[in-house]
């Protein structure tokens, strides 16, 4: 066990000063960066320019990734086969000194769900890839032996990674850096879970950042690809650098002056817990209760015991993550970053563990092995409920006592999942195969949609949030379309100004909520395509940047003029191409639905507004109809011909690049 502060915790090219050593010239890099097609089976690499038209239609990051996924992937292939494509996409605004612009989008057909696989990662990798000359990587085939990609100033090599195999996610990054004798190298890596093709293995960079959801690390493992390392010394070039810097600084100031940014800089996302747990909006014991009783140690202030500072991603002024040291206990010492609010749910509320120490250890283990926090916690909470109900027993779990709050069993099971050992091997393929393997009544306790676990929020009192998880293109997920500001009870005039239609300020209402979800889908699709942090858009704060700010930033960075309306249409196009992908893979209206417990079991506790709540089936059906209508999809959720024409999707797949 390491006993010094790990190298990865130091963020070279500090988030506060991302400009260090970079020359700024009067031309945008967005037009010179390339897309590289890498065939790991053949060992071939072809670089091509990214067409201007494609930028106008899809921007970059998630948008171009989704275009490439829909265009290049054959329908209904086995996601673990060499035919699957792994896409790495740098956000269009990557490199600007604001809004956490260091984000990268990673996509493939998901091995967990069979639907759109897509996950977004912050940190410092994306700017390094851009500095190395590439904005998009399209990786196909399977390497004969463990390999990694080395990307450096316009060149890409496939290198041997035999010495990296079986190394954890922290060690792997250190070894790559040592091999290169260069501290500035940034890598995307997998851990043992990715190597073992656990279907919800993630991809990681630095100490904390993860492309967590939909199993992108599993795809790297299936391709024998241990890492992608980037080191670049090319220039960062903006179309209108002086105005861009001035505008970025203005925006940073505006964000830092808000109370949410101040709170997030102090307590990270853990601050959300105080509100949601008090009200009764989180699930505990899988889905049995909606508030953690005696959960005081999970309050954000508890992190003061461990925190040695806060850190942030590239281009971020907020710095929302704790750097912590756990000095005592059998796993100590642990140096880490985080944990997020979602980890608190995964290894705290959902499994009924009430100590911050437990969260920190579990957080460290999943990070080291490269497992998605949410999927791991969701599956373990489900298994604990099955154990309680007698659907599985000690024989099934090979001796593990999966009782609520049993932290020892939690840690053991995390390890078993990552290594595909013992009962962990039953859970390592995710909900759908585990339900088949366990059988009996296990399906009815699973809080999953399209095969993906929900986070620990309980959406029974909040129809807008329920519609968000039901319709998300990548499965139960808050990051596709969550209208989190619905929980703020904002004045209805303000809501109408944002959403363009009347929306009820009451978060338990169904009125106008389909509009909210569709609007947020567009906003987040654009956010993920320009590559900025979602926290710094209208996700947490109503005053955060949205369309008009995005439009100005795109112009100053690239010289491309896109109006607010055109940007909203880009968001709609990206969401619709994801929908087309899922339809082609066999998903339909039946998959945009909640687990039965949302309709049948009322919330047992909470403040009066959240207590005794369940989703009304009929009203939810109507809300879903309304949502399809807003998108221009038919009653089965299939985009109409005129919708596709309007969005320039009628010629897809077009293979522009």
């Amino acid at each position: 066990m390491q006993d010094t502060i790990p190298h990865l915790m130091a963020s070279p090219r500090s988030a506060k000063n991302p400009w260090l050593g970079k020359r700024v010239v009067d031309e945008s890099m967005v037009w010179t960066r390339k897309v590289a097609y890498i065939d790991l089976t053949q060992g071939t690499i072809i670089a091509k320019p990214i067409p201007k038209d494609l930028r106008r239609l899809y921007l970059g990051g998630r948008g171009i990734d989704m275009y490439l996924l829909y265009n290049h992937l054959e329908a209904r292939i086995n996601p673990l086969s060499p035919q699957n494509i792994l896409l790495i996409g740098v956000g269009m605004l990557c490199g600007i000194p604001a809004l956490g612009s260091g984000r990268c989008d990673i996509a493939a057909k998901s091995p967990l769900t069979g639907a759109v696989g897509d996950s977004n990662i912050g940190g410092f990798f994306a700017p390094e890839l851009r500095l190395a000359g590439f904005d998009h990587l399209v990786i196909t085939g399977k390497a004969e032996k463990p390999s990694y990609l080395w990307v450096n100033d316009g060149q890409i090599e496939i290198r041997d990674a035999t010495h990296l195999w079986e190394k954890d996610t922290f060690e792997t990054q250190d070894i790559i850096r040592d091999d290169a004798e260069d501290d500035e190298v940034k890598s995307l890596v997998i851990g043992i879970a990715g190597e073992k093709q656990v279907r919800f293995a993630n991809i990681r960079t630095g100490m904390k950042n993860a492309a967590g959801r939909t199993g992108m690390g599993c795809i790297m493992g299936a391709k024998n690809l241990k890492a992608i390392a980037a080191r670049g010394t090319l220039d960062i070039e903006f179309a209108h650098p002086d105005e861009l810097i001035e505008y970025s600084l203005e925006m940073n100031d505006k964000i830092l002056n808000t109370r949410w940014a101040k709170a997030q800089s102090r307590w990270g996302t853990l601050i959300i817990y105080s509100n949601t747990n008090t009200t009764g909006l989180i699930r505990t014991r899988n889905f049995q209760r909606n508030r953690l009783e005696n959960g005081e140690d999970l309050e954000p202030e508890s992190m003061d015991r461990y925190t040695i500072g806060m850190s942030g991603c590239y281009g971020c002024s907020v710095h929302c993550r704790h750097r912590y040291v756990l000095k005592e206990g059998p796993y100590a010492p642990i140096f880490g970053e985080g944990p997020e609010y979602t980890s608190l749910g995964a290894f705290g509320t959902m499994v009924d563990c009430k100590k911050m120490d437990t969260i920190l250890v579990a957080n460290h283990l999943v990070n080291k092995y490269g497992l998605d926090t949410l999927e791991t916690g969701g599956l373990i909470a489900w298994a604990m409920e099955l154990y309680e109900k007698g659907i599985i027993n000690k024989q099934d779990t090979a001796g593990l006592e999966l009782t609520w709050g049993n932290e020892d069993a939690l840690f053991k099971l995390i390890k078993q999942i990552a290594h595909r050992e013992g009962f962990g091997s039953t859970l390592a393929d995710g909900f759908k195969p585990a339900i088949t393997a366990i059988g009996k009544d296990s399906a009815s306790y699973a809080i999953q949609i399209k095969g993906m676990s929900n986070l620990h929020s309980d959406e029974r009192p909040t129809p807008s949030l329920a519609l968000n998880i039901a319709t998300s293109t990548r499965g139960a997920d808050h990051l596709r379309s969550r209208p989190a500001i619905d929980l703020y009870g904002l004045p209805e005039e303000l809501l109408e100004e944002i959403y363009g239609v009347p929306v009820s300020a009451d978060y338990t209402s169904y009125e106008g909520k389909a509009h909210m979800v569709a609007w947020q889908e567009r906003l987040y699709a654009v956010t993920d395509s320009i590559g900025i942090c979602k926290f710094q858009t209208v996700f947490c704060s109503v005053n955060a940047p949205k369309w008009d700010e995005f439009s100005k930033l795109i112009y100053l960075t690239t010289d491309l003029q896109l109006s607010e309306d055109q940007l909203m249409q880009v968001g709609e196009r990206i969401y619709t191409i994801e929908r087309l992908f899922n339809l082609r893979e066999g998903f339909s209206r039946k998959d945009d639905w909640l687990p039965d417990r949302y309709f049948d079991e009322a919330t047992p506790i909470g403040l009066p507004i959240a207590k005794g709540k369940k989703i009304n089936r009929e009203r939810f059906k109507k809300m879903l109809d309304e949502y399809y209508l807003l998108h221009g999809w038919d009653e089965n959720g299939v985009p109409k011909k005129e919708t596709l024409e309007k969005l320039n999707l009628d010629q897809e797949p077009s293979h522009q690049v």
Partner: protein, 86 residues
Amino acid sequence: MLHANLREIVGKREIIEEVHSPAILKHLLDKLAQMYGKDFKQIVDQREGKTSLEFLVSINGQVTRDVYTKLNNNDVVMLSIPVGGG
């Protein structure tokens, strides 16, 4: 219930106040502002005469901006800031 920096200022998660009818939210907020100062004072947007959008004030989970909302005994008033996402 107090959250975020309001909790830090007071040093407690919870304050129990007995209210005498007819009581309104404003009475409670004024009293807290007097006791704990500036940050509490800013909960009410003086220009608008409503709770500020920089704060999240709810009674029994129901968010309110109206400082004249009635308070009853056993009501849970949550004074927080709008932080969401998860």
